[in-house]
């Protein structure tokens, strides 16, 4: 099976600091993959490397069969990546509608259709469209951030800690939506600290520890793996 996204031998640095060390991973078309790891294990950096926000010093990023290693972030987004960033990162002084429009920034004509789709599925978003995004509650912000990422009808949706800062009921709601999106055929890479939650819905998983992939496998196997806890606690 040809992979939708393939990282091979990625090494990423912040200045002198070696963050990602020889990371290789694959995500197939329509696959839901979890990337697990503790604080400062390199999860967010992996996402930023995939998007091209942080350049990889060595290694390749292939997306949809194309080598995008040297391509800018805007190009990669245009090819079908999207992200729900950590802490949502909505544009607080802009309206909900404007936030959704930013999600479809590179779409020309598709935007109207995307908006209608969002409105029909989520009437609450329609009601709130003129409200400033910064005035929404945390749960509402999470919903808008997900809608914003889906505006461009991505092939690959990256999610950075969707459970962070949300009440348990909202975490469950988020994961329901993740499953819905997955069911609609979108490939996803979900970065999480909440391993049980993330693996319970994933097809496969990877575990990062201090910049290295230490475990990978089918989600079910990982859930049963006794080293997983160890990997979490540092080593």
């Amino acid at each position: 099976m040809s992979a939708l996204l393939e990282l091979s031998g990625i090494n990423t640095y912040y200045g002198q600091m070696h963050i990602l060390q020889d990371v290789s991973l694959k995500i197939g078309e329509g696959e839901l993959v979890s990337l697990l790891g503790g604080n400062a294990s390199g999860k967010s950096t992996t996402l930023k490397t995939i998007l091209g926000i942080v350049p990889a010093r060595t290694g390749n990023v292939r997306f949809g069969g194309e080598d995008v290693t040297a391509r800018r972030t805007s190009y990669r987004i245009g090819r079908g990546m999207a992200i729900v960033p950590e802490n949502r990162r909505l544009f607080a002084p802009m309206t909900v509608l404007e936030n959704l429009e930013m999600g479809a920034y590179l779409q020309g004509d598709g935007m109207k259709e995307g908006l209608e789709r969002v409105y029909s599925l989520f009437p609450i978003v329609y009601e709130r469209r003129q409200q400033l995004a910064g005035t929404l509650s945390g749960g509402e912000q999470q919903m808008v951030a997900m809608r914003r990422a889906l505006m461009s009808r991505p092939k690959l949706l990256l999610m950075d800690e969707p459970s962070m800062g949300l009440a348990p009921i909202l975490v469950e709601r988020s994961f329901e939506i993740i499953q819905q999106v997955h069911a609609s055929g979108v490939a996803m890479l979900v970065v999480e600290q909440n391993a049980n939650m993330a693996l319970s819905i994933a097809d496969r998983g990877y575990v990062l520890s201090t910049g290295r992939l230490v475990l990978e496998g089918a989600a079910k196997e990982l859930l049963a793996h006794e080293d997983l806890r160890k990997a979490y606690l540092g080593r």
């Binding site: 805007s74 987004i77 245009g78 992200i83 960033p85 544009f91 607080a92 002084p93 930013m102 945390g138």
Partner: protein, 323 residues
Amino acid sequence: MGGIHLLAGFDSFTLTWPYFFDQLVAGLTLGSLYALLALGYSMVYGILKLLNFAHGEVFMIGSYIGYFVLTALGGAASPDVPIVVLLLLMFAAGMLGSGLLGVAIERFAYRPLRSAPRIAPLISALGVSFFLQQLATLLFGSIPKQYNTFGLHNGSLFNRITLGNFQIQYMQLIVVVSAVVLMLALTQLVARTKVGRAMRATSFDLEAASMMGIDIDRVIMFTFFVGSALAGAGGVMNGLIFQNVNAYVGFNAGLKAFTAAVVGGIGSIKGAMFGGLTIGVAQAFATGYLSSAYQDVIVFALLVVILLMRPTGLFGTPALQKV
């Protein structure tokens, strides 16, 4: 020179409504100019968190371009084209030239330093500022170039329109109206267009904006172009009102406009406009009722007082984040 002679003071002449309105009109005219210049500081700061010290020099170059267009078209005393065309061409050329200069400055002096510590682009900005001052002196000489706009249409542009106690020169009216038109255009651009939305998003959160697929380099380039073009328009206005331009005209105007941007709340477009008018009017009243020697004291005292009361400026918002 006794201090008392420095003061315009309050007497039967200065304590009249016509005198008051004269100062107000002069202040609003000057303030429009500061506001245009302040917008560039504020927009660039909003996106890059960079104090663009070279912005005053972009204004100065715009003023020179206005002068050269005026001269090329026959000069103020006997222009080859109608006055409206002449003024439009001066503004268009000044704005385009300054806009392109701003883009070039960003490309060569700031972009290579974007991931460097913040002090580096600041020093680079100072360097560009001195470079342009010296370059202008070298190319255009140290003797101020005369706009001689009193010569335009036999000086009739400096005639006054009178409405009761209120008087305004045609030239002041031209400056204020042009500034208002440009500011309205900018407001619409930022509020309603796609590139305007991209500018606001980038200004709020650069990385999140790039995650939406926005080409950050292009947004920054566009921001520099627009901000610098407004400075160019301000430079032409400065020549029209004050009649001349020299290589150092950008320093003082830039300092005042920067103050205006801070007073209004740096990063805020509304703040830059309001701050510019506030500083202009304060300076005019200080000159009219106290003395021109005190104008800077008053302006910077105002800055201190406003920052003491509102550290983020009049329209600035403290960084509030809801998680």
